[in-house]
């Protein structure tokens, strides 16, 4: 990768233009991964990979094509450009295709630029010891501590030139708890960090999830039906929110199947919900410098007190729909916290459910969903009580997002997003 620089990209770009393209763009992403894997509370694998992904894009007489390669040698580049020509010649004219203009995209180096093998091993060893001593009922199924460094170079015929490098750590854990032959449901937790200063147990919501797992051992099948309020944990809320936000993005907006295509500046969700995207929030280890279509990333507000402020469209999606382009890729969610503490959020629920995780299933195109709830508890008289299994939560995605009755002051921060706990009405939980 040492010989790869913007001049190298510009030379490839020149060859694409020579091949008959009016506009060309070249992107090279070089990634280094170091992964320490633990299976069942013992080290299993140390893995490192180095990969390049080269994307060649071209527009010829309004006809657009993309080719992806992972080799930078002459033979492969030549083949790639020939394939790009063939693909563009067979593509229809599409005037919505264009490349990002020259702009001041900051060239960054962020986060750790080399993995710290010894510290990684030490952190994982300490994590295993810590879990063993403090949470003896916890059975780790797998723990993956990863270091990832990504260098992105991008240049196009409009004058865009970007060379950015970011490094970060990511830790993901799968686990359950076991006592006297009884087990909890499996749970997962993952988070990002820019260094290894903090104990792995204290990354994101891992400690909270392991403690909750221990309480889930006494799990019993849920009986009957519950239509009372449901408090949704950040991980589960993020799953629902992802489905909901898909209605603001290219696929649904271009195909005309979005629920919200005519809802800009209109109420589409509870007034308690404000969703921002902050790609450079200093609280995040995994940030975003540049959008997927090559624009410098900036913060935006998607929902302001339930009012839809902007769609989440790429440059292409914006041109196809005659709407504004999103100024980021929509990954770094910052959902505004509410006024209630978590204690009060639960305290206001007499008879309800705490929904820890959603498993499988997805809403139909009209928003109706029925999904299995995992890691969940009944709420009785304002307190979390019995853990329950075998229950399905159902409702309509659009109605649920409008039926949020409170949002917690506390938010879960996983190094990439900030998401609160929310309480909703209108969802049904059904058991055996």
């Amino acid at each position: 990768m040492d010989h790869i620089n913007l001049d190298f990209l510009k030379r490839i770009m020149g060859r694409i233009v020579t091949a008959g393209f009016d506009h060309a763009e070249v992107q090279i992403v070089n990634e280094h991964l170091t992964e320490m894997q633990v299976d069942f509370s013992d080290f299993a694998l140390l893995r490192n990979t180095e990969s390049d992904q080269i994307t060649l894009r071209g527009i010829m007489g309004g006809r657009f094509a993309t080719i992806m390669l992972n080799q930078l040698d002459e033979v492969n580049l030549q083949t790639g450009i020939a394939l790009l020509q063939e693909a563009a010649q067979s593509a229809p004219v599409d005037t919505a295709r264009s490349f990002a203009p020259s702009q001041l995209v900051p060239n960054n180096e962020m986060g750790p630029l080399e993995p710290m093998h010894y510290q990684m091993h030490e952190r994982v060893s300490h994590f295993l010891k810590n879990v063993g001593e403090n949470y003896p009922e916890c059975m780790l199924k797998q723990s993956l501590l990863r270091y990832i460094r990504t260098r992105t170079l991008r240049a196009n015929t409009e004058g865009l030139e970007v060379d950015s490098t970011e490094g970060y750590y990511n830790h993901g854990v799968r686990f359950l708890s076991k006592r006297n032959g009884k087990t909890s449901s499996i749970n997962y937790s993952g988070a990002y960090a820019s260094d290894l200063e903090v104990e792995l147990l204290d990354w994101g919501g891992l400690r909270r999830a392991i403690e909750s797992s221990s309480r889930e051992i006494a799990i019993v099948p849920f009986q009957g039906k519950l239509t009372g309020p449901i408090v949704i944990a950040p991980d589960a809320f993020a799953v629902l929110l992802n489905f909901w936000l898909a209605h603001l993005k290219d696929d649904r907006m271009i195909s005309g199947t979005s629920k919200f295509s005519a809802s800009l500046e209109k109420p589409v969700a509870s007034p308690l919900l404000t969703i921002g995207i902050e790609p450079r929030n200093p609280a995040f280890a995994k940030q975003e410098f540049m959008t997927e279509d090559g624009y410098g990333s900036e913060p935006s507000v998607i929902l302001q007190n339930g009012i839809l402020k902007t769609f989440m469209l790429s440059d292409y999606g914006a041109k196809k729909t005659n709407l504004a382009r999103s100024v980021n890729s929509g990954n770094n969610w910052v959902i505004e916290g509410g006024t209630k503490s978590l204690v009060d959020l639960f305290g206001d629920v007499d008879n309800g459910l705490f929904l820890g995780r959603l498993s499988g299933g997805m809403p139909a195109a009209n928003g109706d969903f029925a999904i299995v709830a995992k890691n969940s508890f009944l709420i009785e008289s304002g307190f979390i009580s019995k853990p329950v299994s075998e229950l399905i939560v159902s409702g309509n995605l659009f109605q649920i997002m409008s039926a949020i009755t409170s949002v917690s002051r506390e938010r879960a921060v996983d190094g990439m997003t900030m998401v609160p706990w929310v309480c909703v009405e209108g969802m049904t939980a059904t058991g055996r």
Binding site: L45, E50, G361, A364
Partner: protein
């Protein structure tokens, strides 16, 4: 293609004084994806990923390293680094008694590449545009339509330090048509997929008119689903259609019998030689051939150089064996039967199913439907999940009511859920017509993986929907 034979002599050099098992793999994944959305070419992608990796095992620990530059130097670097990585872990921890099985395959070479010449992107785009125009002309009332054509060739060359030398090329190609209709309750979508083992020219180098009746069927189901009903929620007698049964069995039962997940405490852990389901159920993971025909995802030798053999998971309701890799086979004192596969050159081999088959029974589908007074015939698996405790949940794309033994109204999207072995115990009829699923199913377990899944229809009791 990188010649790995010359690297065999490097195995002992890289390991030094340690006793090390190593393998080197060169792999190339070639992907084509064309998506036509309402007549517009949304995606026109050719993606070729190749590289070389090495994996080494010593003292009970694995090391892995990969490079996307597939040169001899990169292969040697990967071998050295993988050995160093394994030693790094072995030098800091102690794991006694962990060893791996060895193989005696020798040389093996098998390619499923098409005998027909490949076609240019332009030909496939014309194919898609022709069918898109046909849909638009015949069915202007659709809110949206999407045509997706994709192909994935996976080619591997593997050498191992115990003397195996393997080359395989397994392609698959699929074509999906998706239609959406507006209703008062919001948009309703239905889709279907054709394809399987082979390259695009093996499946779709035909007059596109021959797809008209299939497209008509998709439209009819979309239209009927738009007028359809939501099923009543709760435990119900149902018939899982072939495609749905195949995927549910793979996810809810198959994964629980993967030895790495068994070691992690899956629900199958203590159940070998015990009755876990109806005696009507037999479930096998076939390596490459079933009923005299090549399976959708044939595996002859796995990525650890182990000869792939059929693995009987459940026979007449009794759990028989787990699926192993070299390491877990030694742990369970079973024979490794070739389940270790990696998706890309930069992935390490994991225990994966190849072609899971629910063996057909003797029931006619009409008799199965006639046996249900009030239930559902369910089709089209959507997004789902099953965890190792046996709890599963799948979105279901459509189906039919069954009232008094007869098919009734079409169903809208719903879901099924339950406990894997409870569902298996409830099986009361197994259809006599087996079918491979043609949806191009990609299983996810740390990495994606193409798999084959097939089943007859199954009558059982599961929980339907949620309201």
């Amino acid at each position: 293609m990188l010649d790995l034979k010359s690297l065999k002599s490097e195995f002992s050099t890289a390991s030094g004084v340690y006793r090390v098992y190593s393998e080197i793999r060169y792999q190339e994944n070639r992907k084509i994806l064309l998506v036509l959305n309402n007549g517009e070419l949304e995606t026109n992608l050719t993606d070729t990923t190749r590289g070389v990796s090495a994996r080494s095992f010593t003292g009970g620990y694995w090391g892995f390293s990969s490079y996307s530059n597939p040169s001899k130097d990169s292969a040697l670097s990967a071998l050295r680094e993988s050995t160093r990585n394994a030693k790094f872990l072995a030098g800091r921890s102690q794991k006694s008694g962990s060893t791996i099985a060895f193989s005696q395959v020798g040389k093996f070479d098998k390619s499923y590449a098409s005998s027909k010449s490949p076609m240019s992107t332009a030909i496939w785009l014309e194919f898609l545009k022709f069918l898109d125009a046909m849909i638009l002309r015949k069915y202007p009332d659709l809110k949206s339509r999407q045509l997706r054509m994709q192909a994935l060739d996976i080619e591997k060359h593997i050498v191992t330090s115990d003397g195996q030398e393997i080359h395989t090329m397994v392609p698959r190609a699929h074509f999906t048509v998706s239609m959406t209709k507006s209703t008062k309750q919001g948009p309703i979508q239905f889709q279907d997929t054709r394809g399987g083992l082979g390259q695009l020219q093996d499946h779709f180098l035909v007059n596109p008119d021959t797809f008209e009746s299939w497209i008509d069927e998709i439209y009819q189901m979309t239209a009927r689903k738009a007028e359809g009903v939501s099923p009543a929620a709760g435990p119900r007698d149902v018939i899982l259609a072939q495609d749905l049964a195949a995927i549910v069995m793979h996810e809810a039962i198959g994964h629980a019998a993967e030895a790495d997940l068994v070691l992690a405490g899956s629900v199958a852990a203590e159940q070998v030689e015990r009755l876990v389901g109806s005696p009507l159920i037999s479930f096998t993971d076939f390596a490459h051939t079933y009923a005299g025909k090549t399976c959708p995802q044939p595996v002859h030798i796995d990525d650890e150089g182990i000869e792939a053999e059929n693995t009987s998971i459940i026979h007449n309701g009794v759990l028989k064996s787990f699926m192993n890799n070299r390491e877990t086979a030694m742990h369970f004192e079973q024979k490794p039967t070739g389940h270790a596969r990696a998706f890309s050159h930069s992935d390490e081999p994991l225990i994966r199913m190849r072609n899971t088959v629910v063996h057909p029974g003797s029931s006619k589908i009409d008799a199965m439907i006639a046996s249900i007074e009030d239930g559902y015939y369910l089709m089209k698996a959507g997004k789902g999940q099953a965890d190792t405790t046996g709890e599963f949940m799948f979105a279901v794309g459509t189906g039919f009511e069954i009232k008094n033994g007869k098919l009734g109204r079409v169903l809208r999207d719903t879901s099924i859920s339950g406990l894997a072995f409870d569902m298996l115990r409830s099986v009361s009829m197994v259809g006599d017509e087996f079918k491979w699923d043609s949806s191009g199913y990609l299983c996810t377990k740390k990495q994606l993986m193409p798999v084959g899944v097939g089943s007859p229809a199954i009558k059982c009791r599961v929980r339907v929907g949620g309201n």
